[in-house]
């Protein structure tokens, strides 16, 4: 029998993998993908809790998360394109113009 913990642990695993991807990879596109993954993990939590309480509020929030993820992907990829065009690299280590 599935309980809420199953879904929470799954979401935890995906979220941790996403964090690991952001911290361990140097390619900005993969970092952005990892952020998508983390948002996705949060969505699982919301939908699972929505099922737990038998209301759709959690799913309504999941809609917002998906919308935010789409907006984030669009703008993030636009920035990546521009930066990649100007600096000829997609390595986050090389994007250090603002680093003191």
């Amino acid at each position: 029998m599935l309980s809420i913990e199953h879904y929470l642990v799954l979401s935890l695993a995906l979220f941790a993998i996403g964090v690991g991807g952001v911290l361990l990879r140097r390619n900005v596109i993969v970092m952005l993908m990892s952020i998508e993954l983390m948002l996705n993990a949060v969505t699982i939590n919301l939908v699972a809790f929505s099922r737990l309480h038998g209301s759709v509020d959690g799913q309504a929030f999941a809609v917002f998360i998906i919308v935010a993820a789409a907006a984030e992907a669009v703008v993030g990829l636009g920035i990546i394109l521009v930066v990649g065009r100007g600096r000829e690299t997609l390595n986050s280590e090389d994007m250090d113009l603002l680093k003191w």
């Binding site: 995906l14 941790a16 361990l24 390619n27 993908m33 969505t43 699972a48 917002f64 789409a70 280590e93």
Partner: protein, 170 residues
């Protein structure tokens, strides 16, 4: 039914976690994008198990069908830079990164374990609104109308932002 649900849950979870791991370990960005699609679709399967059909449709339509196609586009447009083999981060950075990820995971796990004892969660609700789409629409347009409008504004702003960013002369 319950047994089938359990089997499907483990199947989709294993698929999601495995392809997420493959996504962050693959050197080739294009392959990472493919694995991201697999993860998102497996998560969509989880949503179906949770009887959230509308969220599943959104997931397939917007995330797997829309956002990842954007990634694919950018990878193709960026050309060799995107697939260039970057020097892996230094050993210390790798250690710190992995440790941080594990710490985050540990904290959430701790919260789950503690909450399990203290939060007396009820058993999974068995009855769910049969008209999932209508229920979500009602919630979005009555209870959450302000966030809904703000989300549409966010989409508009990001669309304009993307157009401005992608133009040749900024």
């Amino acid at each position: 039914m319950s047994a089938l649900n359990t089997i499907l849950f483990y199947f989709f979870s294993a698929l999601a976690v495995a392809s997420a791991l493959a996504m962050i370990t693959r050197r080739n960005v294009a392959h990472a994008a493919i694995f991201l699609v697999t993860t998102l679709l497996a998560t969509g399967g989880i949503f179906l198990l949770l009887r959230a059909e509308f969220i599943f449709a959104l997931q397939a339509l917007l995330n797997a069908g829309g956002a990842v196609i954007l990634f694919v586009f950018v990878i193709a447009l960026a050309g060799p830079q995107a697939t260039a083999r970057l020097a892996p981060p230094s050993g210390r950075a790798q250690f710190v990164g992995a440790a941080l990820a594990l710490v985050v995971a540990g904290q959430i796990l701790f919260a789950i374990v503690v909450g399990r004892g203290s939060l007396r969660l009820p058993a999974m609700a068995t009855e769910i609104a049969p008209q999932n789409t209508e229920a979500i629409a009602t919630a979005l347009l009555h209870q959450f109308i302000v966030p809904f409008e703000i989300a549409s504004l966010l989409l508009l702003v990001s669309m304009i932002g993307a157009v401005v960013l992608a133009r040749r002369r900024v």
